[in-house]
C-alpha cells in the first residue's frame, strides 16, 4: 500500500436535495473521530433549490478548503449528468464513483444526454469509474433516501478512503442518522456492489 498520502481530495456532486451535504458530513465526522483532520466546503443559497451542487471534502493534512480542477482523487456523484459536468475535477489516475440515476432538469423542452454516451466518453478518456445502480439498490431496501449512503459504501470500498477513515467510525456516524439500520444496510450493499466490480 505504500506511505499514506498527506491528504485525499474528494469532490461530491449531484442535485440539491440528494443528500450530498449529509455524505460530506459523515465522511468528515468519521475522520475526526479517528483523529484525522477534515475540511468541507459547500455552496448553497440558490443551489439548494434543485440546482447543481458540489461539495469539496479534503481529509488529512490539507489547508485550503477548495479543490482545484484536475486535483480530485475521487469524484462521487449522485447524478450522472452532474458526473459529466464535474469530470474536470478528476486528476490523472483519479476514480469516479457515480450513480446511474439521471434527474431531468425542470426546463421546458430540455434535451437530455444519453447515459451510454457519458459512459463511452469516460472510457475514451481512460477514467477509472464505478457505475452504481444506487436507486435500484435503495428501492430494494425500501427507501429512496438512502441512495447517497449506497454510494458511500461503494466509495469506501474502492476509493482508498480506508487509509484515512476506519470502518468503525463510519458505521458509528451512520448509526447517528435517522434510520440507522437501513442506512448501515445501504452502506453494506454499496460496499458489496463495488467489491464485485473490482
Amino acid at each position: 500500500m505504500g506511505v499514506r498520502p498527506k491528504f485525499i481530495n474528494i469532490v461530491i456532486c449531484g442535485v440539491g436535495g440528494q443528500g450530498i451535504i449529509t455524505l460530506s458530513r459523515i465522511m468528515a465526522e468519521s475522520a475526526i473521530k479517528d483523529g484525522v483532520n477534515a475540511i468541507i466546503s459547500e455552496t448553497h443559497g440558490l443551489s439548494q433549490r434543485g440546482g447543481s451542487v458540489e461539495v469539496h471534502v479534503r481529509i488529512g493534512e490539507a489547508y485550503s478548503p477548495l479543490i482545484s480542477k484536475g486535483e480530485a482523487d475521487l469524484l462521487l456523484s449522485t447524478e450522472i449528468i452532474e458526473t459529466a459536468r464535474n469530470i474536470s475535477y478528476i486528476k490523472e489516475g483519479g476514480v469516479v464513483i457515480t450513480s446511474d440515476t439521471m434527474v431531468r432538469p425542470p426546463i421546458p423542452g430540455v434535451k437530455l444526454p444519453k447515459k451510454e454516451d457519458i459512459i463511452r466518453e469516460m472510457e475514451k478518456n481512460k477514467i477509472e469509474y464505478y457505475l452504481i445502480p444506487s436507486r435500484a439498490i435503495a428501492e430494494r431496501l425500501g427507501s429512496y433516501l438512502v441512495e447517497n449512503v449506497v454510494l458511500l459504501g461503494a466509495i469506501y470500498k474502492v476509493g482508498g478512503l480506508n487509509r484515512f477513515i476506519s470502518m468503525e467510525s463510519l458505521k458509528e456516524s451512520l448509526s447517528s442518522l435517522r434510520n440507522p439500520e437501513i442506512n448501515i444496510k445501504a452502506f453494506e450493499e454499496g460496499y458489496e456492489y463495488a467489491s464485485k466490480k473490482l
Binding site: V15, G16, S24, R25, A28, E29, I32, N37, A38, I39, I40, S41, E42, T43, H44, G45, L46, S47, Q48, R49, G50, G51, S52, A62, Y63, S64, P65, L66, I67, S68, K69, G70, E71, I81, E82, A84, R85, I87, S88, I90, E92, R104, P105, P106, I107, P108, G109, V110, K111, L112, P113, D117, I118, E121, M122, N125, I127, Y144
Partner: protein, 632 residues
Amino acid sequence: MHKLLYKEGSNVLLLGNEAIARGFIEAGGGFAAAYPGTPSTEIVESLAEVSEAYGYYVEWSVNEKVALESAFGASISGVRSLAAMKHVGLNVAADAFASIGYVDTKAGLVIVSAEDPNMWSSQNEQDNRLYGMLAYIPVLEPSSPQEAKELTKAAFDLSEKIGHAVLMTPTTRVTHTRAPVAYERPMPVKRMGYFSKDPKRFTLIPSNSRSKRKMLPEKWEKIRDALEVLTPYNRVENQESDKVAIVASGISYPYVKEATEEIGKYRIIKISSPVPLPKKLILKGLEDVNKVLVVEELEPVVENQIRKYVDEEGLDVAIEGKNYVGYFGEMRLDRARKSIREFLGLPVPEKTYKNINIELPDRPPSLCPGCPHRATFYSLKRAVNSLLIKPIYSGDIGCYSLGINPPYNEQDIIIEMGGSIGVANGLSHAAEGQIPIAIIGDSTFYHAGVPPLINAVYNRAPMLVVVMDNRITAMTGEQPNPGSGFNAIGAESEAIDIATLAKAIGVEKVIEFDPFDISKATEALKEALSYVKEERRPAVAIAKKACALYAMRIARKRKVEVPIYQVIEDKCTACGICYNALACPAILVKDDKKAWIDPSLCTGCGVCAQVCPFDAIKPIKEIPKGWDEIWE
C-alpha cells in the same frame, strides 16, 4: 445534543457560522440580532437553537439596520452584543454603521458581515473591508472556522478595550466551510446591564460630532497599536527566509500556505486585521525583503496600506499584488499557485483536464415542487395576457427571483432588497404605456418594501405590487419574519398583517388570494391590474400560501399524509401544458410525451390538476383532513 452545547475540550465539526456562534457563547455574549442572508444565516440561526440553555437574548430583526441599531443599544446598556448580516446587508445598516465609530461603545459590539466573493448567492461582491476605512471601524478577517471562533472572542475583547465597534468579515469559504473546532469554557452570560445617561457621548448633534471627529485619527492609531499584538492571528512565518515575502490576508492564508509549501519555505506575513493594517508587524515582515506579493481577494485593501507604509519609511521594496492575483472572485489553490510562482519567476505547471465532450443541459436552481410562487407566476401571466397590458416585472431578492427562468420570464429587473417597489416608482412615472408589476416576498416587504409603497401612494405611482407571502423567509431556510406569528426562538408573536398594513398606508385596492386556486387567483390579479390601469394608482395583491418545504415539514409533524397526484394515462393527450407552461419539477415527460408525476417529489398542491385542460390529473387518494391548514 446540540453541537453548540458540547463541553469545553470537545473537537467538533462546525460550519464557520456555527463557529462564530460558539465564539459569541464563549465570549459571554448577551445579545444577538440578525437579518438572514446567505452566507451569514447560520450564525443567529444556531444561536437561536440553544439560547434557552445559555440565557442570552436572540432575535431575527426586520432588517440589518435594525439589527445593528439594536445590538448597539444593547452594547451601550453594558451587554456584549453581536449583529450579523450578509455583506450587502451592511449597505442597509450603513447609516448606523458609518456613525457608530463616532461613539464610544460600552460592552463589546461585534458586527459580522459575511462576504461573498464569486457571488455564490448574492447580487454583487463588494469588499466591505472598505466600509471599515470609511467608518473608522477596525476589520477582522478570519482564515478558518477555528480562527473565526477565536477572532469573535478577540473582537469582543478588542471592542471593549478600545470602546469601539469591531467589524468581522468572514467570506463564504469560512462561513460555509466545515472543519473541526476546539471548544473552550464559555464565560458567564451577562444578559442585562444599565444605560447610564451621557448625552455628550451618545448624541451625534453637530457640535458633539465635530469634537468626536477630531479625536478619530488618534483613536485609530490606538486601534492600530492594539492590532499589532493580535497574535497569533497576525504573524510572520519563516522570518529566517529573506529576500521575498508573501502577505496573505484572511481566507487567502490557507491557499498561500499550501501553494508555498509545494515549492519550499517562504516568508509569509499572515494578516487577520486588514483594517487598520498593523504597521510594525508589516515592517518586521519586510525586513531584508526586496519584493513582496500581497495575496488577498477583491480590492487591494492590504496592498494599498503596505504601499503607504513603504513610502512613509522610504523602503526599497517592490510591492506586487493585484497585477498577479487579480480582482474577481474567490481565492483558489490554482490562483494562489499561479500568482506566487509567476511572482517568484518559477514555471507554472501545465495541467490537463479530463473532459466529457457531450452537450449537457444546464441545471439552474428552480422553484420547488408545490411552490406557491409558481402558481402565482402562472396566473399573473394569464391575467396580464387577457388584459393586453404591457407589463414590466420589477423583481426582488428571494426565491421568486427564480421567476426569471423560462417558462415564466417574470423578472425584468433585480437589484436589491425592496428594489422591486422602489424601482417601480420610477418606472410608473417614466415608462410610457407600460405597467410596472413589483414582485416581492413577505420578508423582503417588511425588510425594505414599506417605505417605497408609502412613496407610491403619496406620489400616486400606478403599479401593481404582488406580495408573494409564503409565511416565512424561505430562501435562507425558513426563518420567521414579522408575518410568521412566531419569533426566532419559536415563541408566539402577533403577526403583522400585510393587507391591513397596505390599507393603513392608503392603498385603496388591496386583494388577498389563494395562489393554488388558479381561476380565482387569475381573477383577483385581473381586478387589481384593471384598477391600476384605470385609476392610475397603486394596488396590492397578496398571494397567501406557505412555502412548500415549510408546509411539508408541518405535514410530517402533524402526520398528515400528502395527497399525491397522478396522471390518468388514457386522458393525457401529451399537450405538455403541465410540464412546459407550469413546469413543476415533479412532472416528468415520458418517451411518448405524456406526463408522469414522480410520487417522491409531488407535494399535493393540486395546481397541475387545474391547469390540465383534459382533466387527466387526479389525486391518488381523498384529500385528508387538515390538508389546507398545513399551507396556511
